[in-house]
Symmetry: C2
Subunit: 331 residues, 2 copies
């Protein structure tokens, strides 16, 4: 392999100084056209590509951002297409900005320190944290150290940190109202973990609608896994056999609730209507297909990236969710 050319070589070939070559490469306008052309030709001929390390060393910029998946997220990484969507969205924006995406799954012990060390020492220009738990200390630590941080998901404790979140409450409200419009009277919910903002907000949305229509909440709590969906469903049926609808806080739990209903002799949607949340691919393959609330995951990734890259103002943003009606809530 031939050694890769340096700016020096490009400059020599173009018959200019290194400084001028640098100006051209970096798109300065203050260069005479014929010189610019000469340099560009030399770049082309030699196949020159700037050495990022050298550039970073002097500019103190890294031209890369880190996408961090904390441990709890990593655990469900394989099953949850939300993360794939976020990655895709972030990646698209990063690519357009011609920067690099450094992926960090902090799965192992000490992963946090690793991220902290790495990010606070100028190796990246910013960090996107796909945090599931709103109490995660990492965003705060990094922000205090002066690292640009944007979180996916609103922190549970009030904070001034920028984030992009889904409209979980709104989606839940729409789902529950949809069940009411379908004439359902006893609407239960399988809530998610109450230490995650998605779990909290979706339960709040459910409660808000029921409260407005003077109905009683019927709640069982799961942990977003399929198994917990099954057992929560069984518990709900035991608590109140008259249930005719369930809003399940995520599709995975809904996937567990469906067979539990079937085993209890309930038909879906005739006896019990079911709405999930997330719109994972599997939701359209269930029998009957699952009505659910879709989240703009790719869009979320894009917004996260744009904020951390300062392409748009850092803010606390909520993205709209969308009800997808399928067979599990009747026709």
């Amino acid at each position: 392999m031939r050694a890769r050319p340096t700016l020096e070589k490009v400059a020599a070939r173009a018959g200019v100084s290194r400084a001028t070559a640098s100006r051209v490469v970096n798109g300065s306008t203050r260069v005479a056209p014929q010189i610019r052309d000469a340099v560009n030709r030399a770049v082309e001929e030699l196949g020159y590509v700037p050495n990022q390390a050298a550039r970073s060393l002097v500019t103190q910029r890294a031209d890369s951002i880190a996408l961090v998946f904390p441990e709890p997220a990593t655990r469900v990484f394989s099953d949850d297409p939300t993360f794939a969507g976020i990655i895709r969205g972030v990646s698209m924006e990063i690519e357009e900005a011609d920067k690099q995406l450094v992926l960090m799954l902090t799965g192992m012990a000490g992963g946090y320190q690793r991220v902290e060390r790495y990010a606070t020492n100028g190796h990246v220009d910013g960090v996107v944290i796909a945090s599931m738990h709103g109490t995660d200390p990492l965003p705060g630590i990094l922000a205090r150290r002066g690292v640009p941080v944007v979180c996916s998901g609103r922190p549970t404790v009030p904070s001034s940190l920028p984030y992009v979140d889904m409209d979980n409450a709104g989606g839940a409200e729409r789902a529950v109202r949809h069940l009411m419009e379908r004439g359902r009277r006893r609407i239960a919910t399988i809530a998610g973990p109450q230490d995650m903002i998605a779990g909290i907000d979706r339960l709040n949305g459910y409660r808000a609608v029921l409260r407005d229509s003077d109905r009683r909440s019927i709640v069982a709590v799961g942990d977003f896994t399929r198994e917990s969906g099954s057992s929560a469903m069984r518990q709900l049926l035991a608590d109140d056999p008259e249930i005719d609808a369930v809003f399940v806080a995520n599709d995975m739990m809904a996937l567990g609730a469906l067979p539990a209903l079937r085993q209890a002799g309930r038909r879906v949607p005739d006896d019990v209507a079911v709405v999930g949340f997330d719109d994972i691919p599997a939701a359209s393959y269930t029998e009957p297909p699952l009505s659910t609330v879709r989240q703009p995951t790719v869009e979320m990734g894009r917004r996260l990236a744009r904020m951390v890259l300062d392409l748009e103002e850092k803010a606390q943003v909520m993205l709209p969710t969308e009800l997808v009606v399928r067979g599990s809530t009747g026709s």
Copy 2:
């Protein structure tokens, strides 16, 4: 934010030269114990972290590797947990080696040149390509340019490039034999795209077993999507209504085949047994749960990373697959 300390500062604090400080930081043994301790203390107190850019500049190493998902892979990224598994595996090894993972989804036009430019200019120490199509030119290009490359999936054309592949043929054979052991006589297959090695090898495995037992192949070809699974299933039933088993080349198509069978009045597994391939999470949620062939995706990621990091010899490796028997092939 206070400026981050340099090696110079550490050396000054420890009362040694920059060279000695560097030696300690990099773990050289040829340093007197008390000096080493002094330097380590200074590192601790100042919170020193080496500047990777400066280090890379002189060592010509990047301490990072790229994980590339070419366009076709990106398209199915969201739906296919295979990629999540590979990412996790690669990430684990990278983390252990204290290097960085640069993720590149070459979704957009020009993505290839971007990877090529980036990788051939010393920005990464190696590239792992999650290539779906065996004819991908990228691995060859990079290898020729002297960049260490390892592919996931065997290239369709013979090549000396290192790769890690799943034992697709073996898995298919085991699946088909399993169907025979269950007493099935007319075993059809829904094959995957024949420009992907997974599609080719799985079909070959199917054919090999049938040939050995002097049976006729009954083949329909899909494109690994759920919809193609449905229509292929309908076609198979039209071609040969006597079919009593189907080996489907991936779970997603199997997910499409199941409702198609149901609509045709066939019970699974009583009338027709079904085996899939991949063991995606949804496979255990179908009714009945899908027998399938599991792939060690995380292990694949680990091996890919270890090879590209030169922690193990670059070779052409095939990982074993495992038959998972569930309800769709009887009890």
